[in-house]
Amino acid sequence: MATQLSSRLFHKIKQGGTRWFYSYNRCIVSDKQSLSKHLKREVHDIEQVSSQCPSPWMLQAGVCLIRLPLIEEDLSEFQKRYISLKEQMEYENSILNEWELEKIKQTQLMNDIESGKRDASEMDFKVSKQDYEDDYNQAFKEFTESTTELDLNDADFKNINRRPKDYLVLISKQKLGNDTVWMLPTEEWKEEENLRQSAERALTSHCGTLVDASFVSNAPSGFYKYKFPKNARTDAYVGAKLFIYNAFVPRVSETQSTATFNLDIDLNKMLDYAWVAKDEMRNFLKPKYSKAIDEIIF
């Protein structure tokens, strides 16, 4: 089912010197048919042209391996105020429970005994509920959390458990031509393969086969197009189209609050790796590249 959003978008594509314009309604698509309904006319033209001259873009599949946050974010001041207000209101609108009823009875009984209205033999308790409460409050004041929490080193980029409140992405340093570049683990698409399979291959070839990652869909989550530097350009390829696939580091058990990352590096492919949060990506990656990834992570 396609649902239409409100505005139209005009998109400009440069292909082999000629310019192609097309417009499409932005809609949330889940099957082939509804997309083809909008693009059918234009796609025919493109296909005819592409069969005549093959596309100058190399197809690549990249993996955006995301480590989800391990620890909740702190409550803001406002949230704390609101929570305390709600607790206060719940207390005010509540009725007395059995403990409190008993307590009231007992205090009444003790007052009556003191004033002489009732006999001392009617006391059916040795320790009153009020005394218990006093004890509990005293114990609470004396209690100190004497436990030391794990010091998760935020500065070590290779530690998967760094910055437990943020979304982290794995990036690796690879050779591109003569330079070493920080980018997502990518692999060129081979024939007889889906793009998703080439993305999975990218992950295993860079990080080894022991890595746990769950890919969510067969469709790519993001897209980035770049041109090779002029030395690296061949007759066949002007640049590359990178299709990014989202994968998540799984955390399945309730009690596990740290993630594990079993690496088996192939040092020819991956010279270095880092787990990087959104604000740190600019230090490693080009701005457009980091923007492309930024908006794919939630």
């Binding site: 989800l68 207000l85 007395l96 794990l150 067969n218 989550s221 197009k225 309730e254 939630f298």
Partner: protein
């Protein structure tokens, strides 16, 4: 000549004629008033037998449901003494509630915007893929081999302690499903 009283039949359609004693299932009024003693005794016995039958079965437990308040809780002696809230305090509370409404609306909007962005990026990637090759595009739209249902545990509240090994396994709920409290008669 004496004037005769003539009753004029008013033009009333039969469907609007309402009579309270003409209900079909009502039976005869006062049908149970004058019954011979024997029949009365028989009826009473029948009722007794039915009650005995029901009382022999064990009482059915009522499942614990939070939204049914036990009758005993509505008695006055359970009421908390009301705190007096000054006007300023009330104003503060109301303003806080309004601010909270504004903030949640805003955060909801941001979340839905993020989701829209994600979908938009996926859309664009699919379109670009389509331009490259139809075959790969079709393969990308396949619904097999997906990790559905996708399960993922959410974040924890605090960092793990040093050298702490959590116990293995999940949680088993041992709360009783049924309560006996609701069956007690109201205290008078």
């Amino acid at each position: 000549m004496a004037l005769k009283k003539v009753f004029f039949s008013l033009p009333v359609c039969s469907s609007r004629w309402i009579s309270t004693s003409c209900s079909r299932s009502a039976g005869f009024q006062g049908s149970k008033a004058n019954i011979p003693l024997e029949m009365k005794l028989r009826m009473i016995e029948r009722k007794k037998r039915r009650v005995e039958k029901l009382s022999k079965q064990p009482l059915a437990f009522i499942p614990i449901t939070d939204f049914f308040i036990p009758y005993s809780w509505k008695m006055d002696k359970r009421a908390r003494s009301k705190l007096e809230i000054s006007e300023e305090e009330e104003d503060k509370r109301v303003l806080l509630e309004k601010e909270w409404a504004r903030k949640t609306f805003r955060s909801r909007k941001q979340e839905s915007w993020k989701i829209k962005l994600l979908l938009r990026h996926q859309q664009r990637a699919l379109e670009e893929l389509r331009q490259e090759s139809e075959k790969l595009y079709n393969a990308a739209l396949q619904c097999e081999d997906l990790s559905i249902p996708f399960t993922c545990r959410g974040p924890v509240q605090s960092t793990p302690l040093e050298g702490y090994l959590p116990p293995l396994g999940g949680y088993e709920h041992t709360d009783p499903l049924f309560s006996k409290d609701d069956l007690s008669l109201p205290e008078v």
